[in-house]
Subunit: 171 residues, 2 copies
């Protein structure tokens, strides 16, 4: 099934039963070393670690690098999806993302510094025979990219402390 | 070097030369199939794909799953870091993250629906001999976790269109 056929089929399902568009995505796992984290999402394993300079084993990319990778890949895939929807030929796409982060935030050394990225830059290079339409494509992507939206717009997060430390536990 | 020694050494460097706390993180790569994305971050390779139902090959987790994995792992590692800083014993940690997403946003089928997650939930279970201190630990983590901050607070993103479709290109 081509991307175009998959998209048309999915949109038909959503059109007839809107509830099927609402999906709960999940990942879970554990701290498996000093800073090593082993997670799964469906059948997929995801390893995360920190460089040695912060006490990790450097076996995998770090959490903030995965956050940038989520953005880069979501952009790339949303280009494919919207190029298909808009009928714009896309032969390939190169992408580079970088983000500025000040460790004063993570370490609690300066309360005026946020823990996360202060700025993120995306360089995207679509490849295809209709470059004159790429600005239209990029605007459509940026209006519909899930991870770009996650990063630019606040998302409510509820954190529950489970186990003995949680509300039902105690000493 | 233990996590405690690594953190102390890093904090000493930052204290004497604050500019060394400012880090630019990067990832880059390309669309390598219908929806397959191949990225690298330093020496680490990151593959991303979509399930078959949206036209992908399901070879890897999807972008939004990586976004949740970035959050889950950043939480877990920040627990390790702040448990060390606060002198709270942490023998292990289990974490589960889930997020609600409505595909009407990605597909542009309803402009009132945001493309990203409408809500995210974190269930975290720290394991150790001092559960009475885990609430204090959790509050310190949530105040300093980079990816939690990325998701709950807007981050400015600049997107540049490069190649022939960019400002210097065109037909």
């Amino acid at each position: 099934m081509s991307v175009g056929e998959a998209i048309a089929a999915r949109e038909q399902v959503i059109g007839s039963e809107p509830g099927k568009a609402r999906i709960v995505y999940r990942t879970s796992g554990e701290l498996a070393g000093p800073m090593l984290v082993k997670l799964t999402a469906r059948k997929h394993e995801i390893g995360v670690d920190e460089p040695a300079g912060i006490g990790g084993g450097n076996d995998y990319a770090s959490p903030v690098e995965y956050a940038l990778a989520a953005l880069a890949s979501c952009q790339a895939i949303t280009y494919r999806l919207w190029a298909t929807k808009l009928g714009i030929a896309l032969d390939g796409l190169e992408i580079a993302v970088e983000g500025d982060l000040d460790l004063h935030g993570l370490f609690g050394l300066d309360d005026a510094v946020r823990p996360g990225f202060s700025a993120i830059r995306i360089d995207v290079t679509p490849i295809g025979p209709e470059p004159a339409r790429f600005a239209e494509l990029a605007d459509a992507v940026d209006a519909h990219c899930p991870v770009l939206d996650l990063i630019t717009t606040p998302t409510p997060v509820e954190r529950r402390l489970c186990g003995e430390g949680g509300p039902a536990g105690g000493s």
